[in-house]
């Protein structure tokens, strides 16, 4: 029999531990050792990662973060974002659709501190592989991402040209501008005509 009304599910427990380990590892490897979190000391941030409904509570103490699933009282600030956005924070370096609550400045400072974490992966890797291999791996990864970006740009440009010029399914930017300009002109002329008609209809 279980008489408890408030307990934490195993997946949520695992998530809180995973986030705690990830954040503290990032802070430890950060060039500044997580110094950006110092002004947030002894503050509690509530973090809701949709679609998970239960919030996690992040406690910042002594440039480390503890994560837990329950909290006595209210958090100082709240951040609601998606799990995917939060997971891609190290790459995106922003939480564009985050909803902030409570002390919003504190919440923003926390996001900013997360975004400033800067880990020199090559340096960390070199401890295990030596400088040369770490550089080659780093260079390979950078080349991969550059090539990936290049492919993405080329595909994007080709698709754009096909849609705009080959099948003319969508207008170009200048066509849209011209169209908007013509709408503005028509609106102005219509307003002028309306004013003239009103003048003619008004008995002198």
């Amino acid at each position: 029999m279980n008489t408890s009304t408030n307990h934490t599910s195993l997946p949520l427990l695992s998530l809180s531990k995973t986030i705690e380990v990830a954040l503290n590892t990032a802070m430890r490897l950060d060039d500044e050792q997580g110094k950006a979190f110092t002004p947030l000391e002894d503050k509690v941030i509530s973090l809701t990662l949709t679609p998970i409904e239960s919030p996690l509570y992040l406690i910042v103490t002594n440039t480390r973060i503890s994560v837990q699933t329950t909290l006595q009282g209210e958090a100082d600030a709240g951040i609601q974002t998606t799990l995917i956005d939060f997971a891609s924070l190290p790459i995106q370096r922003q939480l564009p659709h985050a909803k902030l609550s409570g002390d919003t400045q504190l919440a923003q400072d926390f996001i900013n501190a997360l975004c400033t974490l800067d880990i020199d992966w090559e340096e960390q890797l070199s401890h295990y592989t030596g400088d040369l291999i770490a550089f080659k791996i780093g260079h390979g990864i950078r080349s991969f991402f550059n090539a990936q970006q290049g492919v993405k740009d080329t595909v994007s440009q080709t698709l754009k040209e096909f849609l705009q010029f080959e099948i003319e399914a969508v207008p170009t930017q200048s066509q849209v501008k011209r169209f908007c300009h013509e709408v503005d002109d028509t609106t102005t002329q219509t307003n002028a005509l309306e004013a003239r008609i009103n003048t003619l209809l008004t008995p002198s």
Binding site: H7, I59, Q68
Partner: protein, 250 residues
């Protein structure tokens, strides 16, 4: 006229009331050095999950004052100290000096300093004023206490109004088939592992026996209410191998 001395269980053996403290001390003096590694081996590492769950449910926050009674080698103290921050405080208290020494060294080595105090104290006569702590925990310690009712009264006394007591302790397995396997493990495998790893079969035989002599979930909950707690509830973990009892003082 002969007068029989009051006795108490020490595992499956009855010993004079005053003897239990000495005997428990002997057990923990013996296992202190290998306590952490044995916990990992005995529970296959699951004790970490039980403790993590306890910390999560405490809802602790910066500035709070915590008593980790029977804190032993400091697993809970370490995590609470990280959470209460420099404005809060954690007191690691244990009746056994050897365990406190191991715990203190371990925490200092882990860089946990400044907001932790260490004290040797008997759970039945806590050396703290009334209404001192926001949270008190006793993890895998209550079953070794001679007078559990008195210890619960003391824990109630030192809690602040609104404070919470958390008791993490081995309990009664709820699934009958699993209970049979668990009994076999406890009485046949566990002492042998104690002999192999810590060269101490007797202490681990006592651990297994003391778990069976400990009050079951409902009994302990009732004891908490009798001791004065205004609300008590429990949560079974791992089919009741361990139960987390929580009591509140309003």
């Amino acid at each position: 006229m002969s007068q029989t001395k009051p006795t108490i269980d020490f595992g499956f053996t009855d010993v004079p009331l005053q003897e239990k403290v000495k005997k428990v001390k002997g057990v923990f003096d013996s296992v202190a050095g290998n306590y952490d590694i044995m916990n990992d081996v005995m529970s296959l590492g699951v004790h970490r999950l039980w403790k993590r769950h306890t910390i999560e449910l405490s809802g602790i926050r910066p500035g709070k004052v915590v008593l980790d009674l029977a804190g032993g080698t400091g697993d809970l103290t370490k995590e609470f100290a990280k959470r209460v921050g420099k404005e809060g405080k954690v007191v690691l208290a244990d009746i056994n000096e050897s365990m406190v020494r191991v715990g203190r060294d371990r925490l200092i080595n882990a860089g946990i300093t400044g907001n932790v105090e260490y004290t040797i104290t008997n759970a039945e006569a806590l050396a703290f004023p009334d209404n001192t702590f926001d949270l008190a925990t006793i993890a895998f310690g209550l079953r070794n206490v001679t007078n559990k009712d008195k210890a619960l009264e003391e824990l109630y006394r030192v809690l602040k109004p609104g404070g919470q007591l958390m008791i993490l302790e081995f309990s009664k397995v709820t699934q009958p088939l699993f209970a049979k396997f668990y009994d076999f493990y406890s009485f046949n495998i566990l002492p042998k592992m104690g002999k192999m790893i810590a060269n101490d079969e007797a202490s681990y035989q006592y651990l297994a026996e003391s778990i069976r002599m400990h009050p079951d979930q409902e009994t302990l909950k009732q004891m908490m209410l009798t001791a004065g707690f205004d609300k008590a509830e429990y949560l079974n973990m791992s089919e009741g191998i361990v139960a987390l009892h929580r009591g509140w003082k309003y």
